[in-house]
């Protein structure tokens, strides 16, 4: 059961005929014309783990539609299933129940078709490869030509402002720079989707602000769909077009909040009343899900 406690929540129907037929049965709450096709279409996704302490409902009947070009943040306390949701979309974990389409395919096919780039909390660069070679790794695996690899390394390193670091090894870069390399690596093969699991969680506030701005520019210029897991309310509000508020035990969606600042927003919007209003609503959502209990 996806808890829909707010009238502005939109579980959008899809009016693109090329999209999968299962969409027809979607609960239409606030229909509105919808431009993009669905990149993620999750319906009643549940996932239970059997642990030594008994059953854990990591996800319970989560339904979510994400259109092309959106920037969707998942926010919630630990154990709310936001990372699990991302991993399910990435086919790193399989749901126990529910249907899931990623880029119009099953999650497994989407992974096999290299539809997404995944950025973990840690940069997870390969220490024995130079920055350039790290960027080339997915390209080598996917069989890009030598020339194409080189061009992409140049393009994506400049996209994350790291031109000139090609021959450095990861340990010679700061944590923030390493994470930028890992973002460039995730983008290098031009996937439709960018899945980011607390990518800036381990970085300090200043670096984080800076990377948030860069990420927005990247998103704006590449028009990727971004799914972004975070702990931080300001980060979520600043970056997103849509904020998914989640709650633990069982992991579920509490609220889905639209966040329609212009695509080329700047850090200054954080001082505006609209920003604070949305942040407040996220906070209320988190509270409603008893996230502040402990």
């Amino acid at each position: 059961m996806s808890i829909v406690s707010d009238p502005t929540v939109r579980l959008r129907p899809d009016d693109d005929p090329s999209s999968p037929a299962t969409v027809d049965s979607a609960p239409i709450i606030a229909p509105e014309p919808f431009p993009g096709r669905l990149v993620v279409d999750a319906r009643d996704i549940s996932l239970t783990f059997e642990t030594a302490d008994g059953r854990v409902d990591a996800l319970s009947n989560v339904s979510l539609q994400i259109a092309e070009g959106e920037f969707v943040s998942f926010i919630g306390p630990s154990g709310c299933g936001k990372t699990t949701m991302l991993r399910v979309i990435a086919d790193l974990q399989q749901p126990s129940n529910g249907t899931l389409l990623v880029n119009g395919m099953s999650a497994e096919n989407a992974r096999l078709a290299r539809s997404y780039g995944y950025v973990f909390q840690a940069p997870a660069l390969f220490p024995w490869r130079t920055i350039e070679k790290n960027l080339k790794l997915p390209l080598e695996i996917m069989g890009f030509s030598e020339r194409d690899q080189q061009q992409r390394v140049e393009r994506y390193l400049s996209l994350v402002n790291l031109t000139g670091f090609e021959r450095k090894f990861p340990w010679q870069l700061s944590g923030g720079m390493q994470q930028r390399v890992s973002i460039a690596r995730a983008l290098s093969f031009d996937p439709a989707l960018l899945l980011m699991d607390e990518p800036f969680g381990a970085l300090d506030e200043i670096v984080r602000d800076h990377l948030n701005e860069q990420l927005l520019q990247l998103w704006n210029s590449t028009e990727k769909t971004v799914l972004f897991v975070t702990h931080s309310i300001p980060e979520a509000v600043f970056l997103s077009t849509k904020i998914v508020v989640m709650s633990p035990r069982p992991g579920r969606i509490i609220d889905i909040i639209d966040c329609n600042f212009p695509r080329d927003r700047s850090l200054e919007i954080r001082e505006t009343p609209e920003f604070l209003k949305i942040a407040q609503r996220v906070r209320i959502g988190l509270r409603a899900g008893h996230s502040y209990d402990e």
């Binding site: 790193l92 992974r111 290299r114 995944y118 997870a124 390969f126 024995w128 997915p138």
Partner: protein, 307 residues
């Protein structure tokens, strides 16, 4: 340093260099010196009776200093003094043409060839086993106990069996020795490489999965490079073991050449000095082999971004 005592600006770096040299080599030199002293004392103590009995047998009057100097140059001492070993070693290394049967160089080369072949065979076999174990749970359960068991049987007991069986199959000379050497040295490599191949973290493995890499790509682009530090650690252990294996293999074969053969001959005829010289040769050989592996390791590590 001594002549330029007035050149003040030059003194500081010289003093510094001297300081660094002292810092680097003084502990080692002290240890070696102490060991040599203990050795000399032990040589006197252990050979005392031998020398004194010699004097008494011939009913020659003797003084304590005569006995002490006798213990330093006995022909078949219980424990040869360091300088005796050194001179015997140098003599048998440089005193003959390298291919003469009395040359330690010749015997070392014979053993070295068996060692290197055994090391190569053992490394290949160990890596292959590790690959199989890493890729199959069933193989891990079925192979690992046997691998461990293989090392529980003393090689001295196994070596003659190997020689006989391989001899019956028509294999003589280098190959049986190498196989015994490989039998000993594959073990640390197999164990080390299982650890190395499984060393990549879940993040790196999952990244490969998100790129839908094939198992072969995961092996070559992730598991193999991640295992390189483990490979060299186990190669260093294995290379000395394979030398020991080659020497042990020379004992039951009655080989007429090789460090093992020299050891055997030395112990048959009570030629303790020759025995020790052969031991020194094997120590030099194994240090050289380890140094060689370490050299390759350093150059590989540098190319792989070690810092």
């Amino acid at each position: 340093m001594t002549s330029s005592s007035l050149a003040l600006p030059l003194r500081a770096p010289a003093a510094l260099a001297r300081h660094l040299l002292v810092e680097r080599y003084a502990p080692l030199a002290t240890t070696v010196l102490a060991l040599v002293m203990i050795w000399y004392i032990a040589a006197v103590a252990m050979n005392w009776r031998l020398v004194r009995d010699g004097f008494e047998r011939e009913e020659v009057p003797y003084s304590i200093t005569e006995v002490i100097s006798g213990t330093m140059q006995a022909e078949r001492p219980l424990l040869p003094a360091p300088h005796q070993i050194a001179s015997a070693f140098l003599d048998s290394v440089f005193g003959y043409s390298p291919l003469a049967p009395r040359s330690l160089v010749y015997h070392s080369l014979v053993t070295l060839s068996a060692t290197l072949l055994g090391f190569a065979l053992g490394a290949a076999f160990g890596i292959l086993l590790a690959l199989m174990i890493v890729h199959s749970r069933v193989l891990e359960r079925s192979l690992l106990p046997w691998i461990i068991c293989s090392q529980m049987v003393p090689i001295l007991a196994l070596a003659p069996i190997f020689i006989v069986v391989l001899g019956a199959l028509g294999l003589h000379g280098l190959l049986p020795k190498s196989i015994i050497s490989a039998y000993l040295c594959f073990f640390p490599i197999a164990i080390g490489m299982v650890k190395g191949f499984t060393s990549p973290g879940p993040l790196q493995l999952e990244l490969m999965q998100t790129w839908s890499a094939t198992p072969r790509q995961v092996l070559w682009k992730l598991r193999w490079p991640a295992a390189v530090p483990y490979l060299f650690a186990s190669l260093k252990v294995a290379v000395t073991i394979s030398l020991i294996g080659a020497i042990v293999a020379e004992l039951p074969t009655g080989a007429e050449a090789g460090i093992g053969a020299r050891l055997l001959a030395g112990s048959y005829y009570g030629q303790t000095v020759q025995l020790w010289a052969a031991l020194v040769a094997s120590a030099v050989l194994s240090s050289g082999l380890i140094a060689l592996v370490a050299l390759v390791e350093r150059s590989v590590a540098r190319r792989m971004g070690a810092h």
